[in-house]
């Protein structure tokens, strides 16, 4: 690996906040004047919490069994891997028979499948989607491009390591991974969950500052609160 090219000077300017997000005065439909500050008003400011496991081991084991057999995937095709997700919903590979379902809203999903490379613009949306999912939640990285950049290793707009930004439970290698590989990945994830090792959400909460620092280093126009729960 050649060393970082020091001759190239990266410019890190501040990106101004978008106009509709700045604090300002507005007139409501019934004529009142109110001051709004969108970033504070519209979002909850709570920090993520570490949620302990259930008190009894038997209960926790039962819960983990239920979680592993009812994986609800957020239907968010972030990259080209999304094209192999569709065969999974259809007759040939039918992932539904393993309790895997697709949900359109992050509030009802447990598994975020990052299907392929993440451009910086999508990373922002993926983080928001991830933070809105209820705990415990799992992240699966699909394809070589989430592991180390893959064939986009020199691209200026795609991230290289997904686990810098989100706690990843499982990677599936390949470009692109076949549906059989995905199914195998789901089975592996089930094993991990059943062993009680899939605590990515707690890891995220524990190392929150570090994850945020990584995310903000890449996303220049950070125009949302730190935690979008």
């Amino acid at each position: 690996m050649e060393d970082v090219d020091d001759k190239f000077l990266k410019k890190n300017k501040e990106v101004p906040l978008r106009e509709e997000l700045r604090p300002r005065k507005v007139t409501t439909p019934d004529g009142q004047e109110i001051e709004i500050e969108p970033l504070r008003d519209y979002f909850c400011e709570a920090q993520p919490k570490v949620h302990p496991k259930a008190y009894s081991k038997i209960v926790e084991d039962f819960y983990n069994w239920a979680r592993s057999n009812s994986l609800w995937i957020l239907g968010f095709g972030t990259g080209c891997g999304a094209i192999e997700m569709r065969p999974l919903m259809t007759p040939r590979f039918d992932a539904y028979r393993y309790g895997i379902q697709w949900r359109p809203t992050p509030r009802q999903a447990n598994l975020l499948v990052i299907s392929g490379y993440l451009s910086v613009k999508t990373l922002k949306r993926a983080i928001r989607a991830y933070e809105q999912m209820p705990q415990p939640k799992y992240v699966m990285g699909l394809g070589s491009c989430t592991i180390n950049g893959g064939m986009y290793w020199d691209s200026y707009n795609t991230i290289k390591r997904l686990d810098d930004y989100l706690p990843v439970d499982l990677y599936i290698a390949g470009c692109m991974p076949r549906p059989e590989a995905l199914l195998h990945g789901f089975m592996e994830l089930k094993q991990i969950i059943r062993k009680g090792e899939a605590e990515g959400a707690n890891k995220y909460a524990e190392n929150f500052a570090q994850y945020k620092a990584n995310q903000k280093a890449v996303i220049k126009d950070w125009d949302m609160p730190d935690y979008n729960w």
């Binding site: 972030t78 040939r92 986009y152 020199d154 691209s155 707009n157 795609t158 692109m176």
Partner: protein, 392 residues
């Protein structure tokens, strides 16, 4: 009978330049993001809708979620190294990129392609078109709530992907067409297995036709919705099935034949209505035409011959300064590669002209105002856009 159509005098009227003035703070309008995390969106893109009641006042397309900087990356790679990334420009129909790029390189470098290779290339392109149309049929039926057709279509597409796998070794990204020809011959017994796939596909398509084109609910949802005025086709760069649905019988395969299309018989299907129904119908007929073409190619193609021409040593391969543009008829319209070389071993500039570029941006923004929110998904799918080729 009283009228069900909404009272439009309550809605904002467009100004002289056709734009609607929207003041969000009156509380009358709602900003609604369709996507990127939305099952009704074709891929990873989003439409920012401003709605008034159930009607869309204004729509802005936002793309860039899939931007990888391909055109920049290609400039950093040698001509042969570009191949692995060129097919990733358009995920559902990657072969077209390979063909266009290979043809552009061949033209500038003066490489001869053996005849057998052109036949196999045509076969690959038609198989890719089959897949792409299957995705489109599944998409439109899914967007209208007919999930079962989507299941059948994706299943049939899987069968065709098996044939791809047999031929090229990969399901999605084949990297089979190289400058100078293709990588391999057809495997033994390929025609018979292809025939099985095609007849299965025809059986499913007959069922799908009953559920879609003979269903009165489907007609109510699609007829007269999403109308594109044929007068706008040229201003907005509408090509392919979207234009053919408006009665413009233009098809690059027919007008300026490339590969072996001049030796094949096929008709260019058109419709007059230029709405979602007509566009779906054109795709459906084209799908049958594609099945027919695959059979024809397999019958007419020579049985043996070299598949790869002579390539220079790729380490020292330099192409003199020049520029060219290669186009072809993809399943969505005119697909083109603009290649500029500067005498070095690397391309100077490659620009991909994807049909979705014009369809999903300017045209969609134009069409979307005035539609019902429920029709947005169907409208987008009926334009058959693939976001990766917009932003590359």
């Amino acid at each position: 009978m009283f009228s069900f159509s909404p009272d439009r005098s309550q809605y904002p009227q467009p100004g002289p330049d056709g734009k609607v003035e929207v003041d969000l703070e009156t509380g009358k309008y709602l900003k609604l993001w369709h996507g990127p995390n939305h099952p009704g969106i074709t891929g990873n893109m989003s439409v920012e809708l401003t709605v008034c009641g159930d009607e869309v006042v204004e729509g802005k397309t936002h793309v860039g979620y899939l931007h990888r900087g391909f055109e920049k990356l290609m400039e950093r790679r040698t001509f042969i190294q570009v191949f692995p990334i060129v097919c990733r420009v358009c995920v559902p129909e990657p072969d077209f990129n390979e063909y266009c790029y290979a043809a552009a390189v061949e033209e500038l470098a003066g490489i001869e392609v053996p005849e057998m290779a052109t036949w196999i290339r045509t076969l690959i392109l038609e198989m890719g078109r089959f897949n792409s149309y299957m995705m489109a049929m599944g998409g439109i039926s899914g967007a209208l709530g007919l999930g079962v057709v989507g299941q059948w279509m994706t299943y049939t597409r899987d069968l065709m992907l098996d044939r791809f796998e047999e031929l090229t070794g990969a399901r999605i990204y084949h990297m089979f067409i190289l400058p100078g020809g293709v990588r391999a011959h057809l495997p033994e017994g390929f025609e018979g297995r292809m025939e099985e796939v095609l007849s299965t596909a025809e059986r499913y398509l007959a069922d799908a036709e009953k559920l879609m084109f003979h269903s009165s609910v489907f007609k109510t949802r699609t007829q007269g919705v999403g109308y594109i005025d044929p007068a706008l086709f040229e201003r907005y760069g509408v090509t392919g099935p979207n234009a053919r649905a408006g009665g413009v019988a233009k098809d690059v395969r027919k007008d300026s034949p490339y590969l072996v299309y001049d030796q094949l018989d096929f008709t260019v299907h058109t419709e007059e209505a230029s709405d979602i129904y007509a566009r779906t119908m054109v795709r459906f007929k084209d799908l049958h035409e594609t099945i027919q073409l695959i059979r024809q190619i397999l019958k007419k193609m020579p049985k043996e011959g070299p598949v790869m021409g002579n390539l220079p040593n790729v380490l020292h391969w330099k192409i003199p300064r020049g520029e060219t543009y290669i186009k072809g008829e993809s399943s969505r319209g005119e697909y083109g590669y603009y290649l500029v070389t500067d005498g070095t071993g690397y391309p100077r500039r490659i620009n991909v002209r994807g049909p979705s570029y014009t369809h999903a941006m300017a045209l969609l923004e134009h069409l979307i105002s005035g539609t019902n929110i429920s029709d947005v998904a169907a409208l987008m799918v009926s334009l058959h856009t693939y976001p990766p080729e917009i932003e590359r």
